[in-house]
């Protein structure tokens, strides 16, 4: 996702590197490329132009700090502006949900046809149950699309979450209508003890008068506590038009961006907040019903700019670790601190993460780990392969991967149906993971933040940049000559 912005930005930045001072002339070409990259990513034309102007204005007005390269300063400006664009200028963020106090909370989802409302309803219900401890009820209020009610019922069954439905509409206006279904569902929820109801409304065009009027009626009568606009991340320039029209009609509380697991650059994410001032609250990142994540502007900005998204990894790891007992966590932490995070631990965590779903985007967002799953391969297959490789090792090899030589690699390859070079590749990748794990374990919250910022720079300057290399003790103090050699090598590498 967002490769386009990434590539455009990093190319632009390359051109700015090494310039002593920020002048209009030397950032002009870079900003032109940033502009094209953002347009290609479907960011709204007007939003792009404003964005470029702001970046330019800030860059030119900025004091050049002696210790910083101007390009580094611009990176920081672009990052801050991206965050500002998606976050708006608010002191404290809106809560995710406005839970009602004296009655069941009502959430209403609306949007164009095919944006992913029904699936998102089910995902939200699951999230509310599993992470907010709620007792949700799904409401099938899409009587327009054939079998939409059936679809929600099936999803509800899969999750074990009840669905309120009154059957499809009858021709001639007889039978249930969406407004009465929603009203009845709210009454039912109150008497049956549900605390959240989620209304799945039919997809509709923002310019279609009657259907929009129907939504307004539901809004007036059922009084939803939150109205979410569901928007396909692949939407082009029109995203702001539809979002604005729905906001005008219903006063939206949030936007849910869907289908972000593809290669949509998601320019809509940048535009909608700017134009409607409605915050993006969640993003859909897969077909699994657990694939709904909270939208964090900083994280998205970092992702746009092209470095691994360590923050979300930390959060996910934390979530997985809730399943582990406290002692196990303590034991793991100690192990991590000592730096002897071995393949056994890796396999354990890996399997746990796989259980959580979203493995691929997690790996993808972890510096240096995206390679574990080759481009386009079924993540499940790749995960199985990696598990196979680890399973093919002896206890000793798992504890101490350094002992794995060519003949051992051959054996493991044969046992796991892979090639010896796959094993080598995997071990190299594992070595990187181990370094990261050790770093994270030893870090305070502040340091983790700092690392993120540091990575921002490495990601921007070298596309596909990785974590700053951790210093690993060599066991002896280096001589001046060794240090000079190292510097030389480093310079060569950086070129």
């Amino acid at each position: 996702m967002f490769e386009g912005i990434m590539r455009g930005l990093s190319e632009a930045i390359k051109g700015m590197r090494g310039k002593g001072k920020i002048t209009e002339a030397n950032i002009q070409e870079g900003l032109r490329q940033v502009r094209t990259a953002l347009l290609e990513a479907d960011v709204n034309f007007n939003v792009v132009n404003e964005f470029i102007e702001r970046v330019k204005g800030q860059a030119l007005g900025q004091q050049v700090m002696r210790s910083l390269d101007p390009s580094e300063q611009i990176i920081k400006i672009i990052y801050e502006e991206l965050v500002r664009l998606m976050k708006g200028e608010v002191e404290k963020p809106e809560p995710l949900f406005h839970f009602a106090k004296d009655r069941p909370t009502v959430l209403m989802l609306c949007g164009l046809q095919g944006s992913g409302k029904t699936t998102t309803c089910a995902k939200l219900a699951m999230l509310l149950r599993d992470r907010h401890g709620k007792k949700p009820l799904l409401v099938a209020a899409d009587l327009q699309r054939p079998a939409a009610v059936e679809q929600l019922k099936t999803l509800g069954e899969q999750l074990g979450i009840p669905v309120y439905a009154e059957g499809p509409a009858q021709p001639g206006g007889k039978g249930p209508n969406p407004v009465s279904v929603c009203n009845n569902a709210a009454a039912h929820a109150r008497s049956a003890g549900y605390d959240v109801i989620i209304l799945d409304t039919a997809g509709r065009l923002h310019i279609a008068e009657m259907p929009m009027e129907e939504l307004k009626q539901i809004d007036r009568q059922v009084r939803p506590d939150d109205v979410f606009f569901v928007c396909d991340a692949m939407t082009g320039q029109d995203a702001v038009n539809s979002a604005k029209a729905f906001d005008d009609a219903l006063d939206l509380n949030g936007v849910i961006l869907t289908k972000l697991d593809g290669d949509a650059r998601g320019g809509a994410a940048l535009s909608i907040k700017q134009v409607t001032n409605v915050a993006i609250k969640f993003m859909g990142v897969g077909e699994k019903l657990s694939a709904l994540e909270e939208f964090v502007p900083e994280r998205m900005a970092q992702r746009i700019m092209g470095q691994g998204d360590v923050w979300s990894i930390i959060e996910k790891v934390q979530r997985v670790q809730q399943e582990l007992s406290a002692e196990e966590i303590e034991a793991q932490r100690k192990k991590l601190e000592k730096g002897d995070f071995n393949l056994d631990d890796f396999r354990k965590q890996f399997t746990q993460m796989a259980k959580m779903g979203g493995m691929k985007d997690m790996l993808g967002s972890m510096p240096g780990m995206g390679d574990l799953i080759p481009e386009g391969e079924d993540p499940d297959v790749a995960i199985k392969r990696i598990q196979g490789i680890i399973d093919g090792m002896t206890k000793e090899e798992r504890k101490n991967p350094d002992v794995i030589d060519l003949s051992r690699r051959r054996r493991i390859a044969q046992g796991s149906g892979t090639e010896p070079h796959n094993i080598k590749q995997f071990l190299n990748q594992f070595a990187q993971v181990r370094v990261i794990m050790r770093q994270i374990a030893n870090m305070s919250m502040m340091d983790r933040l700092k690392m993120l910022m540091g990575m921002g720079k490495s990601g921007m300057i070298g596309p596909g940049g990785s974590l700053p290399k951790a210093k690993i003790g060599t066991g002896h103090r280096k001589t001046a000559k060794e240090r000079a050699d190292e510097r030389k090598k480093k310079r060569k590498r950086d070129k």
């Binding site: 327009q144 079998a147 396909d232 692949m234 939407t235 038009n241 539809s242 079924d378």
Partner: protein
């Protein structure tokens, strides 16, 4: 077919939405010389219609070259329209029916593009040409997708071949081919599950369905249609690229053109992939499918 009625439908679809493009018309009613400000404005209008960097830059450059410092004139409007048209595909001939035996149409696209609805409309279109139609419900993944197509087939009075949710879509395709041959249907339309073009394993599954069809019926699939959402932006080009690579698409159905989106990505798709637009979807009704005509498309964009 009555072409007047056809076009008026496109016009209706675009009528609700012309506000944006009508400002292109406004732009041309501007009196004065073509200067940088004028060109910037033209660029903006094209970008806002999702026309994309390539086509936009191309048109702006051509206008600049031919008309810079000249008066804005009717001749120039015609010039811009011609340039736009030349960047689109030739008028669509609709479905290329097999000269003998059944015609197989495979339909694919990303999630929520509008495949199932487009298939229902396409079936109606084929019925209108006097053909008997069978549909294959190969979207066995999404909850209730089979039910959705079943309801449409009942409304259309056409045959449907289906299996339970979660069953192998290739086997449904196989059964559908058998049935089509055995009962001499003229047209078989194969619905498939929505998939993102980046999901290689699902793209392989799609290819498998295609290979089954090839094996079962000579010359099939006669059409492989990709359904694109007109509201999609430049990502539509990537979609078209990957789907074309995997299943050799023969054309595009541009769905949801009745909104405010213009589907300008088709310019980029034509330029990069030379994939023609065959139909446009203009509403939720069974009759809201039209054969694509580039002249009409461009004309209506400019009409005030």
């Amino acid at each position: 077919m009555v072409f007047g009625a056809l076009f008026s439908k496109i016009k209706q679809g675009l009528a609700k939405t012309r506000s944006l493009f009508s400002s292109i018309a406004q732009l041309f009613s501007f009196k004065g010389r073509v200067d940088q400000k004028f060109l910037d404005e033209l660029e903006k209008r094209l970008y806002l219609a999702d026309v994309g960097t390539y086509a936009t830059q191309e048109i702006v450059a051509r206008v600049k070259q031919a008309y810079l410092d000249k008066e804005v004139s009717g001749e120039m409007v015609a010039f811009v329209k011609d340039q736009l048209k030349s960047m689109l595909t030739a008028p669509s001939q609709g479905i290329a029916f097999a000269p003998s035996g059944p015609t197989v149409i495979l339909v694919a696209g990303v999630n929520g593009a509008g495949k199932t609805t487009s298939i229902a409309k396409l079936a109606k279109y084929c019925q209108g040409q006097g053909k008997t139609v069978c549909v294959a419900a190969c979207d066995t993944f999404r909850a209730a997708a089979v039910e959705q197509l079943t309801i449409w087939s009942q409304r259309l009075g056409c045959e449907i071949v289906k299996n339970q949710q979660g069953s192998d879509p290739a086997s449904v395709a196989h059964d559908a081919c058998e049935k089509t041959k055995a009962r001499n249907f003229d047209v078989l339309i194969v619905d498939t599950a929505g998939r993102l073009h980046t999901q290689t394993h699902l793209m392989k599954e799609l290819d498998k369905i295609r290979r089954i069809v090839i094996k079962q019926i000579p010359g099939a699939p006669h059409e492989v249609l990709l359904v694109l959402d007109a509201t999609a932006g430049q990502n539509a080009i990537l979609q078209a690229e990957n789907f074309k690579k995997t299943i050799a698409c023969t054309g595009i159905i541009l769905a949801k053109l009745d909104g405010t989106a213009k589907g300008g990505a088709i310019f980029g798709i034509k330029q990069k992939l030379d994939l023609p637009v065959k139909f446009v979807g203009l509403g939720e009704g069974l009759d809201d499918l039209e054969v694509f005509n580039p002249t009409e498309y461009v004309e209506k964009l400019f009409e005030d």
